[in-house]
Symmetry: none
């Protein structure tokens, strides 16, 4: 007949958690001794460890309660599903780690070599720092979302920036940031940009978020 502290220590939880499970109706309230202390049996210890095992697997306590009342087949099916979830979670964790690593690289201002080269080219063309900053931000964003797409698109940009027409268009867009919104030159620039874009082959986009982002970039071009 162990106390709540011993039970908790055995299962590696706090006494608070044990009381919480009582309140939730997950763990049966044991009888009290003469001083009002809860006195637990091995049954409780087993139940508690089961609760913890499931809870650590990310199963909500309400679901744990249901599972305890479920039939053997239902329980086993649930366990299988829970394990599938865990596997998915592991995969997610792996991807998160990749993104974290990129975050470190991105904040170092160490965009990929290709992006850095592209930004250098822009600087050479006399593009303003403000524009280069925007460009860099967008590339960091694309890289964080989809490195594969980023590689594809930056290669395209590096190719494009050798085209004198694109260079001129780009420099004009930079200047256009200072034009008043109703400036008639905007329309001409948009037409020129669209005509130039129409000549370029379309690139595939794997990640829909990137499509969104590129649309945003285009909007910037058309605004």
């Amino acid at each position: 007949m162990i106390t709540i502290g011993q039970l908790a220590a055995f299962a590696g939880v706090t006494t608070k958690a044990v009381r919480h499970y009582h309140q939730r109706g997950l763990l049966e309230e044991p009888p009290r001794d003469s001083s009002g202390y809860r006195r637990y049996t091995a049954r409780h210890a087993i139940d508690l460890v089961k609760i913890r095992t499931l809870a650590e697997a990310g199963v909500p306590l309400a679901r744990v309660k249901e599972l305890f009342a479920a039939s053997r087949e239902q329980f086993e099916a649930a366990i299988t599903e829970i394990d599938d979830n865990l596997q998915r979670k592991a995969e997610e964790l792996r991807r998160t780690r990749e993104r974290i690593a990129q975050l470190q690289a991105g904040d170092r201002l160490f965009v990929s070599a290709d992006v850095a080269a592209f930004l250098d080219r822009l600087r050479d063309l006399g593009v303003s720092d403000r524009m280069i900053q925007m460009e860099r931000d967008v590339w960091i964003l694309i890289q964080s979302v989809s490195p594969a797409d980023a590689a594809l698109w930056i290669a395209d940009k590096l190719d494009a920036i050798n085209d004198p027409e694109f260079q001129a268009i780009y420099v004009d867009h930079d200047a256009a940031l200072d034009w008043p919104p109703d400036d008639p030159r905007h329309t001409g620039l948009v037409t020129r940009s669209q005509r130039w874009l129409a000549k370029r082959p379309d690139l595939p986009v794997r990640n829909p978020s990137v499509a969104h982002l590129l649309t945003a970039v285009d909007l910037r071009f058309q605004q």
Copy 2:
């Protein structure tokens, strides 16, 4: 100049979450348009993706805020630490999956390998599930109260169970659970058990609660 809904969709979060980050001071409040709507820029999108990346890695929002204000070296050190945590989490996940699998396999976990081996031996001897369950419960309890005593005693049991005489006595006790209380065979079994016990060397008991428990086990033998 995107709205909160577009920003949220881009980062894969809800508008509520975005507002939450504003409230926490994590994400800068953007300027409002004439109707009071928040209008975001690419900067915000980048910051939001950073926030999500860190948050998904399990970094508390308060810590994310600190990190944004930290120096580059501090940030990189933190990222390294965060990745270590992720790695540890992945390892934990692996262990949780193992335990979940065991949960499905049956309930011979929650006990040490020695106890599991002992229970397996009992099963091999044809001891009933009911008896094995009782045995398991007692061992879980003993382990929770005093692991040192448990290790000592289970080693003794593992030794004893190789003795054909003890095997026979154990199997008879199992059967005795079904005998009526006034069955004359009880007396004979008790005598046999006591005689056998007398031949075994005494084991020390460190924790008085364990002595209690073992007494309870003995009582079961004598009942």
